[in-house]
Amino acid sequence: MLKCVQGRRRLLKLVSRCSSVGFTFQTGPAVPLITPQTCLFDRHLDRHQPFSSGTPVSPSANTVNIVDDGRKVEIVWNDCKTSRFHAVWLRHHCQCEECFDAEINQVLIEIDKLPLDIKATNVRITDGKVWVEWNGNHIGEFSTAFLRKHCYSGDSLTQKKASLKTSLYTKPTLASVTWTDCETDEKHIYRLLKDINDHGLAMVKAAPTTKELLTEFVPKHMTSLWDNTYGKLYDVTYMEKATNLAYTQKALQFHMDLTFYESTPGIQFLHCLKFDESLTGGETTFVDMFAVCEELRQTNPAEFKTLCSVPCTFSRDHSSRDHPVHLGIQRPIINLNREKEIIGVFWNPSVVGVQGIPEDDVADYYKAYQLFARAIKNFHTKNEVRLQPGDIVAFNNRRMAHSRNSFGVGSGHGERHFQGCYINICEYKSRLIHLSRKFGDDSAIKRVGNMDWT
């Protein structure tokens, strides 16, 4: 591992050029980072990008021609880029009433009847729209914005993906919004969800410390709480004779919650109800797993490859509870799309039991597994937070792993009580897109780790 700062700067620049996570090297302390008591967000508001409800202006089409003997249509844009669309692609995506129901956003063309050898026989640009006639018997019109957005020629697909990359968050304070602002103006909910998307986590400050507050706050502003056999809302408290490590004072190593569910919980909310000052320690620390994976890809490519190809078995066989469960899934810890970008990461050592891995893979697998565990534990950038009563930390459980420092009870009977809940990752993204269209720009939404190949 490169230890000197200069070396690390070089490493991060290298990673940034050829990976799906761009690093912005910032000066200042990397580890540990403590959130100060006062909210800095309000002061920083002026320096943030102003909320914009306008959509980016799309280039206009200069010329359109039939090429390749009618198999393709070529458009030259006013910014000198060229797009080529297959005639069959255009026919399948015809936006006319007969072919597409715009009200319910559904394609009406039946795939088994689509003539695959269809040709474009006539094309023109009129009123900023591109008109296409196929085989002399069907005409469709396409907005230039639609065609530009869905261009798949040359390196346009690669370019689109550049905006989806996440960046490592290294600022000393977590982005935050206040409870009151969230309750009064939707744009603060947008801010919160956008910060979670950009940085992986964000805070809501100065919320009431009433129990079950999350059961109202989250569905009201986002979407319903994820219901499962563990319940919609759970308590994290310290118990004298605890049966689960989470309910003790002991440290919890880095993990992502409930990785034995196929659609692992998306956004997790932790609401601090009580955290007495007499208790020392008990900080919650977060690490960006996308960033850890990208660094591992550079430093240990063989181990990275192993973690992408040999599957891990996450399981929860718990019969001695009121509602017994036998959950589990086997899949690789790191998941890539075909462009080799990271689309999903799963990490939770406490539910990794018996591994059904072929003997030839065992040695490599465990070596990679252990190295990855060390990479996470020793990662140079983490966000550490000691939650205050009234704090709600909201983080992407598909991207950030979290841990807890042990805490000492001290001489008195200190209390530490959080409540937590989850929302579905796809529903979170849907809400973010909606609010982005309203207050910002929906083309700038980063990957969330929900196994989507986009």
Partner: protein, 487 residues
């Protein structure tokens, strides 16, 4: 009683359970006696396990006398010691252990001749001791970052009870492994292959949909378990005699697990609605599709409860198609096109603007996902919710060719199962495996077709099935449900 007579009653099941071992039960005696063929088979008998196995197999409880259940071998009456039924094979005992490969592996040999080398690191991560594993919750406390790399075994012994104790060099840590655990988790290629074979779907050739009465399923765990097994194996199952009340479906779903909340709500109406969000809520025909493919975790099981289906309504027949069966055939007939659909991603989208918060969801992935052995682990099929294809130019024509071929295989398949639901019936089906379609219907004047629907997560369904299986003493694994599990 001859063994033939017992065979008629339940031995077929017992044979599959006990791998060809013949059993005679003389339960007319004061103390029921279970006779086994040889001493070896009865060496490991666990009383409670045996009881639950026999109960599920015989469908009647073998009443225990005051003296309890007795097991007998040839010529001798012996008391049971220990038995773990696993995949129908009784387990043998560990004969010897030997540290090999410089401490990197441990060779374990059983008295039936089986031998296997366990990696030292594999054993370390499975250590069940109190500092590695919480007894109450089963969660692991092992810290992978703190375990030395390349850990080697210093010494290993076979204990008096036949278990294995391991001591490692680099760590002052001892591991104690039961011989059953080791035998059950041998990870040779053959063993892993055999396990995977057991979870492969078997295709329903009869085209009938198994039906059970809700009255039985509601009140008996055994009946519920049987129904869930059928649903798992066949991909679909029906319930009759479900009260024709609005929202009653909630009781049916909650018997298994929590209802998923979706953009359609918790329970949704399947009828001709005034403001339909998609074609499902109209009377038009629907081609084969899955519901809500935009979700990463697509709803696993879908339930449809028929509240009303008047005689005057024409059409409205529901059809199902086993996509796994279709793909198995497709991959043989069109191997290149199959590969294309595993490689080139499609885009699915769903946009509704009618609810409090608009639904704007999309997903991009290949239609078919395979595990490391080329088995299908999930498939996505929805030709309506298609979003603009975004793949490199060179893939476009190849994709459409494959997509159309599969589209035709689906539309013109002869394996489709048809049913016309009756009021009071509930049909449940695996939404990831079975495609469903509907013929158009005409309600005419006063006729009506009205169902209510709901979803259950595939993970929760499988969990409930396996928990009940354990309770019933059935150690068979679940059939793949298409939730991207590589097992």
């Amino acid at each position: 009683m001859t063994s033939e007579k017992w065979k008629d009653m339940w031995l077929e099941d017992l044979v599959s359970v006990s791998n060809g071992i013949e059993v005679w039960i003389q339960d007319h005696l004061e103390t029921p006696v279970i006779n086994f063929k040889s001493m070896r088979e009865i060496r490991f008998i666990h009383l409670n396990m045996l009881n639950s196995v026999l109960r599920s197999v015989c469908r009647q409880t073998i009443s225990r006398s005051q003296h309890g259940l007795t097991l007998s071998g040839p010529g001798t009456r012996v008391t049971p010691v220990r038995w773990l039924k696993t995949n129908g094979k009784l387990l043998s005992a560990v004969q010897q252990v030997q540290v090999v490969d410089g401490g990197k592996k441990l060779n374990v040999t059983w008295d039936d001749g089986k031998s296997f080398d366990f990696h030292s690191i594999w054993l370390r991560f499975q250590c069940p001791c109190a500092s590695c594993r919480e007894e109450s919750s089963g969660l692991f406390r092992t810290r992978p970052a703190d375990i030395p790399l390349g850990l080697k075994i210093k010494d290993a012994i076979k204990t008096e009870t036949g278990d294995v104790q391991v001591e490692w060099k680099e760590e002052p840590h001892h591991g104690h492994f039961s011989q059953d655990f080791l035998q059950q988790h041998i990870y040779s290629k053959e063993q892993l292959q055999a396990k995977k074979e057991e979870s492969k779907p078997v295709f329903n050739k009869t085209k009938t949909i198994e039906i059970m009465s809700w009255k039985d399923v509601e009140n008996s765990e055994e009946a519920l378990y049987q129904w869930l097994r059928t649903l798992n194996e066949n991909g679909l199952a029906k319930l009759s005699d479900v009260p024709i009340e609005r929202d009653y479906l909630e009781n049916v779903i909650r018997k298994i697990g929590p209802i998923i909340h979706t953009p359609y709500g918790y329970l949704f109406e399947v009828a001709t609605l005034d403001d339909p969000v998609n074609a499902s809520f109209t009377s038009v025909a629907l081609h084969f599709h899955q519901d809500l493919p935009v979700y990463e975790g697509q709803p696993g099981i879908q339930f449809l409860h028929c509240l009303r289906f008047d005689e005057t309504v024409k059409g409205g027949v529901t059809r199902f198609l086993d996509m796994y069966q279709t793909l198995a055939k497709f991959r043989v007939e069109h191997p290149n096109e199959f590969k294309t659909l595993c490689r080139v991603p499609i885009s699915i989208q769903m946009e509704y603007n009618n609810s409090d918060y608009p639904v704007l969801m999309s997903k991009r992935r290949p239609m078919i996902y395979l595990d490391d052995r080329g088995e299908v682990i999930s498939v996505v099929w929805h030709t309506y919710m298609h979003a603009p294809l975004e793949v490199p130019e060179e893939d476009v024509e190849e994709f459409y060719n494959a997509y159309q071929l599969l589209g035709r295989a689906v539309e013109f398949s002869e394996e489709a199962i048809e049913t016309k639901l009756k009021p009071g019936e509930v049909i449940a089906f695996n939404n990831r495996r079975m495609l469903h379609a509907r013929s158009a219907y005409e309600e005419g004047g006063s006729g009506q077709r009205h169902f209510q629907g709901g979803y259950l997560s595939g993970d929760d369904f499988k969990s409930r099935l396996l928990v009940l299986a354990k309770k019933m003493g059935d150690s068979r694994p679940a059939i793949r449900i298409g939730n991207n599990d590589w097992r």
